[in-house]
């Protein structure tokens, strides 16, 4: 235990005194978040409202409402079926969806009250605070023109459950997954470097058990991973207002599993490398395709079909998917159980191969 603690302390001191590594450790995820966050977060369009109208009534009142909405410069009118329009709202491409129920026009003529359901995106303040009064105003105008009794049509606002997501909500968990992958994959190179500099050999001449050395190395990497994850989540929250939809513990657990998986994978990969240079080559060869194919920056549905088998085999795809689900509540690509199973399989598989093939000399 004394040896383990001293090894961990020595390892952390070495890292803290390595300015280059510290720079990349802190700066890299920040650069990525700020860069991509800035590129993608400018898309919340406040200058206009995308209003979907579901026209179940074809009477004069309904047509009057359409015309009134269409005449407003801030409104972009879409007319469509209820399912399609609500789906569009959930995806974030509508701000409001107005249902004009069947029998609307005749009900108004016969002086009956009619409720007009107005669905809005609960996460967008613009929709509820500006959009709904706007609709109420239009309803009153049209009604007054038609009947002189502006009291029959009543807007009934309904927040849509599924939150619509900003691009940063998609990006942030992906960047976190990517950072974990890089930290994990490159962590084993330190062992190769210790071997290359004969430090492993020197340690081998002491009674220190090898397992304790590896345990200390892995512990430090997992600590770093947790710190880096915390850093990313905090930046996401402070700069872009990204909130965690599930519990922090759950996110921490996935971060830990992700870090374990990629640290093991790193050890497995470098077990085939003789030198630090060749180890770096192998790690780069693995991490670059994963970075671009695992849906870090764009959804994997954009990736052409012939690459899909790779996409679906890579651990990063599943870590990013799981983190998106537990951090920001993105719709799942795979079930959380599938994410868990595949990550665990990669974790144990690479752990066993790493133990089997790593050369100490």
């Amino acid at each position: 235990m004394k040896a383990f603690i001293q090894l961990v302390i020595a390892n952390i001191k070495e890292l803290l005194r390595d300015r280059m590594s510290m720079f990349w450790f802190i700066a890299f995820p920040i650069f990525f978040i700020l860069l991509f966050g800035a590129i993608f977060s400018g898309s919340e369009d406040t200058a206009s409202f995308a209003v979907g109208v579901v026209q179940q009534d074809n009477g004069p009142i309904a047509k009057g409402l359409d015309a009134a909405l269409a005449s407003m410069p801030v409104v972009k009118l879409h007319i469509g079926a209820q399912d399609a329009e609500l789906a569009a709202l959930r995806k974030g491409s509508r701000d409001l969806v107005i249902i004009l129920p069947a029998g609307l026009s005749s009900a108004v003529k016969s002086q009956h009250r009619v409720e007009i359901p107005v669905y809005y995106d609960g996460t967008k303040q613009m929709s509820s605070q500006v959009g709904i009064p706007l609709v109420e105003q239009v309803l009153n105008q049209v009604e007054a023109q038609a009947t002189g009794h502006p009291l029959l049509l009543e807007a009934r606002p309904q927040a849509v459950q599924a939150v619509t997501l900003k691009e940063i909500d998609y990006l942030l968990p992906g960047i976190l997954a990517m950072a974990l992958m890089q930290l994990g994959l490159f962590s084993a190179l330190r062992l190769v470097s210790l071997r290359e500099r004969k430090i492993l050999k020197r340690l081998g001449a002491t009674p220190l058990p090898r397992g304790l050395l590896i345990a200390s190395e892995v512990t430090v990497r997992l600590l770093l991973a947790m710190m880096q994850a915390l850093l990313i989540v905090i930046i996401g929250r402070l700069v872009f207002g990204v909130t965690i939809v599930s519990s922090w513990y759950l996110v921490a657990a996935w971060v830990l599993l992700g870090a374990c998986t990629f640290v093991s994978l790193g050890y497995m990969l470098v077990s085939f490398a003789r030198t630090v240079e060749s180890g770096q080559g192998i790690v780069q060869l693995v991490q670059f395709p994963m970075m671009f194919l695992a849906g870090t920056f764009f959804p994997i549905s954009f990736i052409p079909g012939f690459l899909q088998p790779f996409v679906k085999a890579m651990p990063l795809t599943y870590l990013a998917d799981a983190l998106r689900q537990v951090m920001t509540g993105n719709p799942p690509l795979f079930s959380i159980g599938a994410d868990l199973g595949i990550l665990l399989a990669w974790f144990t598989g690479s752990l066993l191969l790493g133990i089997r093939f790593f050369r100490w000399e």
Binding site: Q6, K13, R17, I199, R202, A205, T206, P209
Partner: protein, 317 residues
């Protein structure tokens, strides 16, 4: 095999190391080819030989870093193949290539290594013994070669082990740094430690070692105290000079007193049991041939001469 070792030599003389018929091959290369020797406790024992003679391989087998192919080994009475951890607790090791964590300080490095052992010297004492007190808070990557080597020896001393293995401790150091390390090694002996040392420096072996095994191509070609090795091989003095052309005019072997002659590049060495007569004859021959000799020295034979005599080669890096 162990039967061939003299285990009952002097009463109470514990053997720190016993080796019989040790063999190790790397592919077709026989790095160690049937070594047998034993080291009594409290002795400084040296393995002397050129690079590639099998010295490091022997050390690595003794300390349990490498598996032997054949033969018997006992370190502190135990077989390093079967009890590597028990042996590692009771020995100190300095390996040939000093490799340490570059960004730790001297003190941090010693503290780290101390944590691997159940019992150790105080950190400050280990640092003081090698004279690195002033560098205790300096990073390892800012130490000079001699300081790094002394740190390495401090690490070998940290567990206050019974045997200290030093694999070429002074290679690459300047003369002053070598001398200060020699003092550290001699203090180890005074403290009652057994020291197993490899070197390819003759003067180092002569100065430090109680006994020396001269090794070449994985075999011991001579063993004994430095004085005995020299005495056994040379009754004579060595007369060295530079004038390669002189040998073409005079048969130097026939000069009075000359027993043997050795030519190495520019340098000629005549081994003689009548040095004054040989010098006089050499001067005369030189004057007659009008070929003045330069850099002439007369000296007692050294281990260098022993190695040269036994192998026909000098022991250079």
């Amino acid at each position: 095999m162990l039967d061939s070792l003299d285990l009952s030599s002097a009463p109470g003389a514990d053997l720190a190391i016993e080796v019989a018929g040790l063999c190790k091959s790397y592919g077709a290369v026989r790095a160690v080819d049937g070594l047998s020797f034993s080291v009594p406790a409290g002795e400084i024992f040296g393995m002397l030989g050129p690079n590639g003679a099998g010295k490091s391989t022997t050390v690595e087998i003794l300390i349990g870093l490498r598996q032997r192919d054949g033969g018997e080994v006992r370190v502190l009475g135990r077989d390093p193949k079967r009890h590597p951890t028990a042996i590692k607790r009771r020995i100190g090791v300095q390996l040939q290539i000093t490799a340490l964590y570059p960004r730790l300080t001297v003190k941090e490095t010693v503290r780290l290594f101390a944590s691997f052992f159940p019992k150790t010297l105080p950190i400050a004492e280990a640092i003081a013994r090698v004279g690195l007190e002033e560098k205790a808070d300096d990073r390892v990557d800012r130490l000079s070669g001699g300081q790094a080597q002394r740190l390495s020896v401090a690490l070998a001393m940290i567990n206050d082990g019974d045997i200290i293995f030093l694999d070429e401790p002074t290679t690459g150091l300047d003369p002053q740094a070598r001398r200060s390390l020699w003092d550290v090694i001699l203090e180890l002996k005074e403290a009652g430690k057994t020291v197993f040392l490899t070197t390819h420096y003759m003067d180092e072996a002569e100065r430090l070692c109680d006994r020396v095994a001269v090794v070449d191509h994985g075999q011991i070609i001579a063993m004994g105290s430095p004085a005995k090795l020299i005495r056994d091989n040379f009754h004579e003095q060595a007369l060295e000079f530079n004038q390669p052309a002189l040998g073409n005019h005079v048969d130097l072997q026939t000069l009075p007193g000359v027993i043997r002659m050795q030519q190495e590049g520019e340098s000629t060495t005549l081994y003689t049991d009548q040095a004054p007569r040989t010098i006089a004859a050499l001067m005369e021959a030189s004057a007659n041939a009008n070929l003045p000799v330069s850099d002439m020295t007369v000296r007692q034979a050294t281990l260098e001469d022993v190695f040269l005599k036994l192998t026909g080669r000098r022991i250079r890096e």
